[in-house]
């Protein structure tokens, strides 16, 4: 052996880090090395993949180039460290002979691999299930190293079949040989399965009894029978609960108005849009106008729900997306969904399978218990979902609309030129989580931080060094079930990533359940808890989404959202901050308004209209109180609540400001049935007349100095002006005469957006005059849930280029601008402080 070693030019060791485990990286390396006739080995280790080659340096260079160029789609290489073994004897530690290339088992002692996201069915598997000659023909659980379940089935480490819910299924000899063969694309694919040995479908009624009483003896024929029967039931107008990759969906025919109405009634979901699954590009294009890039996103292995502007001609039942101009569509992400879609031949509603206010059901019994009032039948299977993984949601900022108008997310005009791709991740879940996010320059030696996240749209985050792992969307913590899954999720991730935090980061709000959980973990582990201001976390999430370096100079930030805890227990939600990763200071903001009824004000927009009207001088106020949205409301009582500060905390919320103006325009003033409903309607109305942008006179939002010497944006004058205009345009003399014609609503909605954007940039410009000239920031970050309003974002961009031409504008893309991005922001702030 020694002789052969000496004949070699070099022993080259590659240490590859990045997302290189659980994505078919080792078989890829094996195939590449075998093709190049190289000898050596590959194996997983604690930090990634280790490759040893016995070859010349030149060939090693070629190998490296091909490694980078041909790596699997799902993988990501962050760094390749190459060195030569100077002591050939070390080689003996790895290999017993040098004649071929080996895949070695991982060095389990140091595994710190975590987990990869679930991936949509790959083209190879798709071809296989469509080919009658294959043994996996029409098998709904087909997968390989390039695709299939990951996070949704994992229970422990190292990632192995025995630590997934596939441990219940013993591999048949054929699957076993694929699993063992490095040349096979199912080499070490933990969820590998076939009709002989894998999971099976079962169609049952609401009490769990099998629907099909003439079952084939052959398991895959049974699967096919269940799919065929499910499709028959769907075509007949039934609602099915179907177990998907990360949870149950409620499914029905998206073109059948009756069943769509029935689903709305049974799900107690009167308005919130339903997502649609389409079979292919043709179906997608019938509903929405797609560019090549849009199709690429839709058909990516992440397979998210993408929100597009809906075609007017879209052939869908009325009630799928009532009163909205956008439509969320996705493609089949599993063989089951491919088979269903192929057989059904039309768009299906594919909405999360949950009772109102609850998270998606993940196990069969739970689904039968909680969804039996909604679904008529259940298409279940015997593969357990170990971790709930919701569908991801991405907002597409399409540059061309059907009517030929310029985009609402125009990269050049809106100065959002830093955006490389015109889309925004709104909910980061299936396909995206928990892939690693690389932090910008400067974080290389960051301490380990566990960040607990916010109360709504929660995610949590593990950060160590320059890598952050953002959990899947955990949802709203008011629901006991979400809260349970959150706590289990935190525990599971700590185990999967062998993570021991040095710090715990929590939101400033002491009553957030995740903050309390952070305090409890801190007591248990004796690890310090650090609080982070809600909007500082938003700002930092935006900075790192834009790869802003740790030690770059401070930026300005407009944080626009519903509500979060600010300094001195103030409730913030429309603030101008100045700061960096470590600290931030409050420069200015919206003028705080009472929220009569606290959280009630979030569900009843008229309360915000009343609260804003209450700020206006008495004589003018009287007229506004005649506004139709305030009739039949306990106006006097709520006014007294405001006057006597009875459960009417002051808050500077942009979300509630949108609600107030939406209510003034007659958009859902009484009650909203999902978060942001009135604000989204306001945006949509304005977008529908965006071509009138230049003609529309913006509402005037005025600035005033508060006693602390900070500028604040006062919206009451803008409201008074709006009401006056509406009275005038209605040809009346009092607010009770207001008529809500589409022309008035759309143009004034645009006037609101335009005015607010002007007002906010005015606020920035005025506040900048209070800063030292030498250190004026040249970057403005826009963050918070309200910044998902692409029209507002675009108008802010326009205003900014007019008023502050040297200012660079940044916003979100991969990390949610809403509270789903809070946890990574918290973690990054604490990491930056204690690095």
């Amino acid at each position: 052996r020694d002789v052969s070693v000496e004949l070699m030019d070099s022993h080259v060791m590659f240490s590859v880090s990045g997302q290189v485990q659980g994505v078919g990286f080792r078989p890829f390396v094996w195939r590449l090395a075998t093709e190049m006739q190289l000898t050596g080995f590959v194996r997983n280790n604690g930090s990634g993949v280790e490759i040893g080659l016995c070859t010349t340096r030149e060939i090693a260079g070629v190998f490296e180039q091909r490694l980078l160029a041909e790596k699997p789609d799902q993988s990501r290489i962050d760094s390749i460290d190459i060195h030569l073994l100077t002591e050939p004897a070390e080689w003996d530690n790895y290999l017993s002979d040098n004649d071929s290339f080996y895949i070695l088992s991982s060095d389990q002692g140091s595994v710190k691999t975590g987990c990869t996201p679930d991936m949509a069915t790959c083209p190879d598997c798709l071809i296989e299930i469509q080919n009658a000659g294959e043994r996996r023909f029409q098998y709904p659980f087909t997968n390989c190293t390039w695709c299939g379940p990951r996070l949704s089935i994992i229970t422990g480490i190292p990632y192995d079949r025995s630590t997934t819910s596939m441990k219940d299924f013993n591999l048949c000899p054929e699957c076993q040989s694929e699993y063992d063969n490095p040349a096979d694309r199912r080499f070490h694919a933990q969820p590998v399965a076939c009709p002989e040995c894998g999971p099976e479908l079962l169609l049952v009624n609401t009490v769990g009894e099998s629907v099909n009483d003439q079952k084939s003896a052959e398991s895959n024929i049974r699967n096919q029978q269940e799919i065929a029967q499910s499709v028959t039931l769907l075509k007949a107008g039934n609602i099915l609960a179907i177990k998907g990759l990360g949870g149950f969906h409620l499914v029905c025919d998206a073109r059948n108005q009756n069943v769509v109405n029935l689903l709305r009634v049974r799900k107690h979901r009167p308005h919130k849009p339903f997502a649609i699954m389409v079979a292919d590009q043709k179906q997608a294009e019938q509903l929405c106008l797609l560019t090549d890039d849009a199709w690429k996103l839709l058909s990516s292995s992440q397979s998210p729900i993408v929100l597009f502007y809906k075609r007017d001609s879209a052939d869908l039942a009325e009630g799928v997306v009532p009163e909205q101009n956008r439509l969320g569509i996705m493609l089949p992400a599993t063989p089951l969904h491919h088979l269903l879609m192929a057989e059904f031949d039309g768009p299906l509603i594919m909405t999360s399978g949950n009772a109102s206010g609850e998270p998606q059901a993940i196990d069969n019994d739970e689904a039968l218990r909680t969804l039996s009032d909604i679904a008529d039948y259940f298409l279940i299977n015997n593969r357990r979902i170990e971790n709930r993984v919701d569908d991801s949601v991405v907002q597409w900022g399409n540059p061309i609309t059907e009517t030929g108008h310029i985009s609402l997310m125009d990269c050049s005009e809106g100065r959002l030129s830093c955006r490389t791709e015109p889309y925004q991740v709104l909910r980061r879940a299936r396909g995206y989580a928990p892939s690693t996010i690389i932090l910008p320059e400067g974080f290389e030696s960051a301490p380990s931080v566990l960040a607990m996240g916010g109360e709504l749209k929660n995610t949590f985050c593990l950060l160590e060094g320059n890598r952050a792992t953002l959990s899947s969307h955990m949802g709203d913590m008011e629901s006991a079930r979400s809260w349970d899954q959150y706590q289990q999720g935190v525990e599971r991730f700590l185990m999967l990533y062998q993570f021991q935090p040095e710090y715990i980061a929590v939101d400033e709000h002491p009553e957030y359940l995740p903050s309390k959980h952070g305090e409890a973990l801190s007591d248990k582990w004796q690890v310090p808890v650090k609080k982070v201001l809600h909007h500082h976390a938003h700002m930092v999430a935006c900075l790192l989404d834009n790869h802003y370096p740790l030690n770059a100079s401070p930026v300005l930030c407009l944080a626009l959202d519903g509500l979060g805890m600010g300094e001195d227990k103030a409730l913030w939600g429309g603030e101008l901050l100045l700061g960096d990763y470590r600290d931030c200071s409050h420069l200015a903001g919206l003028k705080p308004l009472p929220l009569p009824g606290g959280a009630k004000a979030m569900r009843e927009p008229w309360r915000n209209l009343l609260s804003l009207a209450w700020q206006i001088e008495t004589d003018q106020r009287e007229s506004i109180l005649n506004h139709p949205a305030l009739q039949n409301k306990p106006v006097t009582l709520v006014g007294q609540m405001i006057d006597n500060q009875l459960n009417s905390p002051l808050a500077s919320s942009t979300g509630r400001l949108f609600d107030a103006f939406a209510a003034a325009l007659g958009l859902f003033p009484d009650i909203i049935t999902y978060e942001g409903q009135a604000a989204i309607a306001l945006q949509m109305k304005a977008e529908s007349v965006v071509h009138k942008l230049d003609q529309v006179q913006p509402l005037a939002f005025s600035l005033e100095l508060n006693p602390d010497g900070k500028w604040q944006l006062d919206s009451s004058g803008a409201l008074a002006e709006l009401i006056e205009r509406m009275i005038l345009l209605s040809g009346g003399s009092d607010a009770r005469d207001i008529c809500f014609s589409d022309e008035i609503i759309t143009e004034q909605a645009l006037a609101f957006h335009k005015g607010l954007a002007e007002g906010l940039i005015n606020l920035v410009a005025k506040s900048m005059t209070q800063l030292e000239v030498e250190t004026l920031p040249d970057c403005l970050a826009i963050t918070g849930g309200v910044s998902q309003n692409s029209l507002l974002l675009r108008l802010l961009g326009q205003q900014c280029s007019k008023r502050l031409p040297d200012m660079q504008l940044i916003s979100h893309q991969h990390i949610p601008a809403n509270d789903g991005g809070i946890s990574i922001g918290q973690a990054t702030v604490v990491a930056a402080r204690y690095i």
Partner: protein, 334 residues
Amino acid sequence: MAHGSGGKAMRDLIEDVVLGAFYNPELAQLEDQARIDLAELVAQGNRLAMTTDSYVVDPIEFPGGDIGTLAVNGTVNDIAMSGAKPLYLSCGLIIEEGLEIDTLRRILLNMRKAADQAGVQIVTGDTKVVNRGKADKLFINTTGVGVIPEGADISASRAQPGDKVIVNGYVGDHGAVILNARGDLMLEVELETDCQPLNGLVECMREVCPDIHCLRDASRGGVATVLNEFAESSGVAIRLQEADIPVRNEVRGVCEILGLDPLHFANEGKLVAIVPADKAGTVVEAMRQHPAGQGSAIIGEVESGPAGRVTLQTGLGGGRILDMLIGEQLPRIC
């Protein structure tokens, strides 16, 4: 008198009023302390229960009661929640100079009436008059003493999975009354405080179920806070069925407008009990026979975990998490 310059005449007047209202043989001896015969106490049980509370409420008089009835019933109820028979009270008054003597007289007479109704004696007391602005009209402190009968083992830490949760009637009345009476809101509702002694009711309950596991009066912080304390101390979860919780329509209406939860509203005559499941029906039956328990109902049950969790079941699914009330409510979810 260290503080207060109410003037000698004023002080004498007040002392007369106090002694007049509270006249009883113990007080009449005018010693510096009440002297209680131990033998009588020992005959009734094997442990002494003692509690103290200071009462500060605005306004001091409201529909169905006043600060005096609160001060008696609150302390009586705190004693009774151990299963004890309340026997004696002390009463400390801090009076702001300028309080109408008639008002004081009314309140003290109501205290006396409440004590008589609860079967307790006010045996010792103290009165201070302070300058205007140093107190708000009237503050009252009462300390109570009672005897715990042998065998009673009621504790916040004894809730067991499977146990049932009981309340003795409409929840949240007192909180709504106080809000209304404060005059900040011109609510057009006719509500009275539920202020009442609960010792009789507890006796009734103990007769049919000597092994009551947990018992507490749901005063400040409401039913939600008491249940959170039980869940925490016992290391169990508690699930409430929203539809089973008695709440008056008027109170629900007030809560709708204010954006508050009746389960967080204070009560002054409501208890929350946790009893073994097999006794729950009998206990509720017995409670309904008692004037203080006519609206009694089973509102939920104890589950094994997660420890410390209280949920409100509104439909199918896992329910909504019901927190205890800490300080003023700051909205979390806008």
